[in-house]
């Protein structure tokens, strides 16, 4: 039996490898997860991450992982052949915060995926957070405010104290045809985001 390799902090100087567009190189991968061919409702996630004093966390690396608009993952462990997988969508995105702690992803709204008991989970996006000063990364989930019915019976949301569930919700707005979800991550304090031991 071998033991896990310990996590260490990402530190402050990761941009030239993990966010190469800041050094004139193509992103690998980046925060633009869609092409015009990608199926489904195209959305922008407008995020912000701040600490318990309301100060931006900069730099932080945010990664997201999600199903496509049909609720299918681009991965061999998703064995549901009956659901077509969108070849124009990998489901993975990576972004870095700016000086205000803001980050943006252009993606699609994911379809619902099943839980191990085969009930449908509410549509959601998995989120990881890496930052200087953090020795391990944190896991959270993003849910959608316009999915009230599905959210109400989602087993993961229901495992969270009701008062803390709003920290996992991204708020929908529409402006000139662009659909944006605002998502706030708070590391500490009154509105501390729920982090999962995933």
């Amino acid at each position: 039996m071998t033991k896990q390799t310990a996590s260490q902090t990402i530190g402050p100087f990761f941009h030239h490898i993990l966010i190469p567009r800041e050094y004139g190189q193509p992103d690998f991968p980046g925060a633009t997860m869609v092409t015009p061919q990608t199926a489904g409702e195209h959305i922008r996630i407008q995020g912000r991450i701040c600490d318990g004093d309301g100060q931006p966390v900069d730099p932080a690396l945010i990664e997201i992982w999600q199903a496509d608009a049909n609720g299918r993952y681009a991965h061999s462990a998703d064995t549901r052949a009956e659901i077509e997988q969108d070849k124009n969508f990998t489901g993975f995105g990576r972004a870095v915060t700016d000086a205000e702690g803001r980050f943006v992803f252009d993606t699609v709204k994911p379809g619902a995926v099943p839980d191990p008991g085969n009930a449908l989970q509410a549509p959601h996006i998995n989120v990881t957070i890496f930052a200087r000063g953090m020795d391990v990364h944190l896991f959270t989930r993003l849910y959608f405010t316009d999915e009230n019915e599905a959210n109400a019976i989602d087993p993961v949301l229901n495992s969270v104290a009701q008062t803390r569930r709003p920290t996992l919700l991204a708020t929908r707005s529409e402006d000139g045809g662009r659909i944006t979800y605002a998502f706030e991550i708070t590391m500490h304090g009154e509105n501390e985001t729920v982090f999962f031991d995933a």
Binding site: A6, G52, A77, Q121, F195
Partner: protein
């Protein structure tokens, strides 16, 4: 449908704590609420996949992938090893991204204010994907130490940063490897944030005379272990 397997938990005897009650008292960046346990679903046992086709050739040679007018300065080294899971199974097709300071202890990063020379021929970044036996290999320059912007002449031990995707979103890992015999390890807050001495020791790459290239580079071996799978399949 059937979930093939879920993943073993993060081993909190090995990983630094999310929040160290003593060290992080008053730190506004650290969560205070306990983490909420999350049973793995399809969303956790899947994750991004990057095969060998995703990389440019030569991405694994940091002594060549950024040359402009000559060769990078410093001691050439080969860092190689295997990526395994907790059951000792090799993990093929795992993307590894590395970054590091140059031989003088300076990052090719606009934010690095350390007064040490920039090497115009060294970016300090590389990528590779593990082969069918989980093996990887980078050719690089031994990184230098650099001072921290606080404390009484505290310097970070020489290190290389690693970012890995294993087979799933929950097998993601970012870590660092260190070099044997570095006197700075004793004082390093990051290295010492690991609760277990054995887990600390495993972040120190092993010097191996036979893992280098004769007459060209010395060799170090650093194996990386990601989360394994539970033996019991979850049937629906």
């Amino acid at each position: 449908m059937t979930l093939e397997h879920n993943y073993k938990p993060r081993d909190w005897k090995v990983h630094p704590p999310v929040t160290d009650a003593e060290r992080d008292a008053g730190n506004p960046r650290k969560p205070r609420q306990p983490m909420v346990p999350l049973s793995h679903t399809l969303s956790e046992i899947t994750g991004p996949v990057y095969g060998h086709g995703a990389l440019a050739s030569g991405d694994d040679d940091l002594t060549r992938n950024a040359v402009r007018n000559g060769e990078p300065l410093g001691e050439r080294i080969i860092v190689s090893g295997r990526v395994l899971d907790e059951d000792g199974r090799p993990l093929p097709d795992a993307l590894i991204e590395i970054w590091q300071a140059n031989a003088a202890g300076r990052y090719a990063h606009d934010g690095d204010g350390h007064d040490a020379p920039i090497d115009p021929n060294f970016m300090g970044t590389g990528r590779c994907v593990t082969d069918k036996d989980g093996r990887y290999r980078f050719t690089t320059i031994r990184p230098g130490s650099y001072p921290l912007p606080f404390g009484d002449n505290l310097w970070r031990p020489a290190h290389i940063h690693y970012s890995l995707f294993g087979p799933s979103f929950v097998s993601r890992l970012i870590t660092q490897s260190y070099f044997p015999g570095d006197p700075l390890l004793e004082f390093d807050a990051m290295y010492n944030s690991i609760p277990d001495q054995g887990a600390r020791d495993r972040l120190i790459a092993t010097f191996d005379r036979h893992a280098g290239t004769p007459g060209f580079a010395l060799g170090y071996v650093f194996d990386i272990v990601l989360r394994g799978r539970n033996a019991t399949p979850l049937e629906s």
